[in-house]
């Protein structure tokens, strides 16, 4: 457990010799040696149907956003079609509904795919398949595609992205999509280790990064066991980390993570390519740190966290919007987040110098301390046995449950202070500023349900059967990469829900409440 900080730090608190400069192994101070031309600035986007979301993305780009990050609605994230019985009230309500190739065409229409960084938290194999198909249709070289998709085989089911797929299938889909991407999309970060979403249950920074490294290490070992060379895929691993209000600790965490990653890749996995050692880090400011009470205060929280991230030298930033407690970002909240980043870049001097906090007794001390604690926790988890078996046995699930309870008690006991929540409160009737914006509502896009059933009806006979047969055959052969049959099925108009159900069935699973897939 991290000790409480001292009143002040001195030279003798820094045990290691001077850290090499930015751009030099172990990259603690940053992965690049030259001052950057900014970082990728984006906000979480997607709402309603793909056309509506396309307009939203274009508006953000017109306002200066330099990358996009697309989130699916809850059926899309769970790999269910809009016509699934559980999806009825959720279609398009809190993310974009994406269930087939037409949807990806509409979502990405008119966007400069070769030049724009395209990221998404939609389950990786499916977003990748949609992106690849649209790029091919538009004659864009896949080798030019940039952006990221996240891989979360260990923690997705426990922390809000449940797809009801067994661990073996989740791990295989992760490895298959990473291997596919390494060959066909060499600039695309197909292995974004997202520690953000699971740390939001209330993990400490040490727990967050330790679980992230456990997952990276397991997936890397799996890919190596398949015969892939480390330097073929390691340059495309990136981290997406959380940034809480412990601003200095977060800066130290990011510095420690770059160092740990470089050491791990070089010393344990024998990577040689410098790009395999220097890990790209993106970050979202913590949604959990935002409050439903006095929502305007969230603008301040986002600005402070983003400033810490700029000083930590990350490659991409998303500010969780001030209406986070109530909804996916409104247009107003999107713009405030984007303008905050632009102010940091253009008006302040925090981005002028790389690693401006480097050399601070506190930051250097904390970086070393976090590095040691993360390393120890990774080792202690791996000593318990195969991490895949631990996942299946619910080890991580219990860790998340404990963290939820622990962080809630910290707040309710007042041990942790949150302005407007357990200190400096105002009466609800006086809490009016920005109320109208945060309480505005999206709605379910129910016409998507009919449109989906219509599409399924209109498909030529036999398309579904032959595509599902190919998927089933590929799924039964564990040496086969599932990406080509997934891409092929989507190209032929098979939906994401149908593909996912076929894969679940091949692994003996079924989404709760689903009709059995046709066989």
């Amino acid at each position: 457990m991290t000790a409480s900080p001292k009143v002040y730090y001195e030279r003798q608190d820094v045990l290691r010799a001077d850290e090499p400069p930015p751009g030099v192994y172990p990259y603690t101070r940053g992965i690049r040696a030259r001052a950057r031309g900014g970082w990728i600035q984006r906000g979480l986007s997607g709402e309603g149907d793909p056309r509506h979301s396309n307009a939203q993305l274009k508006a953000l780009i017109a306002n200066g956003q330099t990358g996009i990050d697309v989130i699916g609605d809850s059926p899309t994230m769970a790999l269910l079609d809009p016509d699934h019985p559980l999806a009825a009230h959720a279609v398009g309500a809190q993310g974009v509904s994406l269930c087939c190739i037409d949807d990806y065409r509409e979502l990405l229409e008119g966007l400069p795919l070769g030049a724009l960084s395209v990221s998404s938290s939609v389950p990786a194999p499916f977003f990748l398949a949609g992106l690849v198909l649209v790029a091919r249709e538009r004659g864009i070289d896949l080798a030019e595609l940039r952006g990221s998709v996240l891989q979360a085989p260990f923690y997705a089911e426990d922390c809000g992205y449940e797809m009801q797929m067994p661990f073996g299938l989740r791990l295989r889909l992760a490895c298959d999509s990473i291997a596919y991407s390494a060959t066909h999309l060499p600039k695309y970060h197909c292995f974004l280790e997202d520690t953000y979403f699971f740390s939001e249950v209330g993990l400490t920074p040490v727990e967050e990064m330790a679980l992230g490294f456990v997952e990276i290490r397991h997936v890397v070992r799996e890919l190596l066991a398949r015969g892939l060379e480390i330097d073929r895929f390691a340059p495309r691993i990136a981290l997406l980390v959380n940034c809480s209000m412990s601003l200095l600790r977060e800066v130290a965490k990011i510095r420690a993570s770059r160092r740990l990653f470089a050491q791990m890749m070089r010393d344990e996995f024998d990577a040689k390519d410098p790009r395999s050692l220097a890990v790209v880090i993106a970050s979202h400011t913590s949604g959990r740190s935002l409050t439903a009470q006095q929502p305007v205060n969230n603008v301040v929280r986002g600005a402070l966290q983003a400033m810490a991230l700029v000083m930590a030298g990350v490659q991409a930033i998303e500010i969780s919007a001030f209406d986070e407690a109530y909804r996916i970002p409104s247009a107003e909240a999107h713009l405030v987040g984007l303008r905050t980043q632009q102010i940091l870049e253009l008006e302040t001097d925090v981005a002028e110098t790389l690693d401006p906090l480097g050399g601070s007794f506190l930051i250097e001390h904390m970086t070393d301390e976090l590095e040691r604690e993360i390393r120890e926790l990774v080792a202690s988890i791996e000593r318990r046995g195969d991490p895949g078996a631990l996942c299946d046995a619910g080890f991580f699930s219990r860790m998340f449950a404990d963290a939820m309870i622990r962080s809630d008690r910290d707040l309710s006991s007042g041990r942790k202070k949150q302005v407007g929540v357990n200190v400096h409160r105002v009466a609800p009737e006086d809490d009016r500023l920005l109320r109208e914006v945060v309480e505005s509502r999206g709605h379910a896009w129910r016409d998507r349900i009919e449109r989906t059933t219509q599409r399924k009806r209109d498909r030529p006979a036999g398309v579904l059967d032959s595509a599902l047969h190919a998927l089933d055959a590929a799924a039964s052969d564990r040496t086969c990469n599932l990406m080509p049959p997934i891409i092929d099925a989507m190209a032929r108009g098979v939906t994401v829900g149908e593909i996912a159900n076929a894969l679940r069935a091949a692994y003996g699973a079924c989404f709760a409440g689903s009709p059995r897939p046709p066989r």
Partner: protein
């Protein structure tokens, strides 16, 4: 008096489970028996669980807007089955306007982001006494 039994669940595809888990733990610590129905419930499913378990109260955790569609169905099903089991709803997405709407529909109590832990326990206990 027998132990109070509360069913806690989420409706539809709402996957934000933290609030439900925290309230479940809170109630268990207070000696309440919690039947945790978890995620992916239909209103029909929750009514069945509460019937089978002889629940005194049904608690819905709401962190997506689906509850606004699911709760009226749940309440109608309870009325059809001639059950008077009180339904309570909690969650950060519930606005003051939603609160009034829910109470009008016949929801017994609503807990928003401002509700203290001790208040939640006390008000749930009071519902059975009522």
């Amino acid at each position: 008096m027998t132990q109070l039994r509360v069913v806690i669940g989420l409706l539809g595809l709402d996957q934000h489970e933290i609030g439900a888990r925290i309230v479940a733990a809170l109630l268990r610590d207070a000696g309440v028996e919690v039947i945790y129905a978890g995620k992916f419930n239909t209103p029909e499913g929750l009514v069945n669980v509460s019937l089978q378990e002889g629940a005194d109260i049904i608690g819905i955790s709401a962190h997506s807007w689906e509850y606004l569609d699911g709760i009226p169905i749940l309440l109608a099903l309870l009325r059809q089955a001639e059950l008077v089991t009180p339904v309570v709803v909690g969650g950060s997405v519930i606005t003051p306007t939603d609160r009034q709407t829910l109470l009008c529909w016949g929801v017994a109590d609503v807990f928003g982001p401002e509700t203290e832990s001790s208040t939640i326990v006390a008000r749930i206990r009071a519902l059975r006494a009522a």
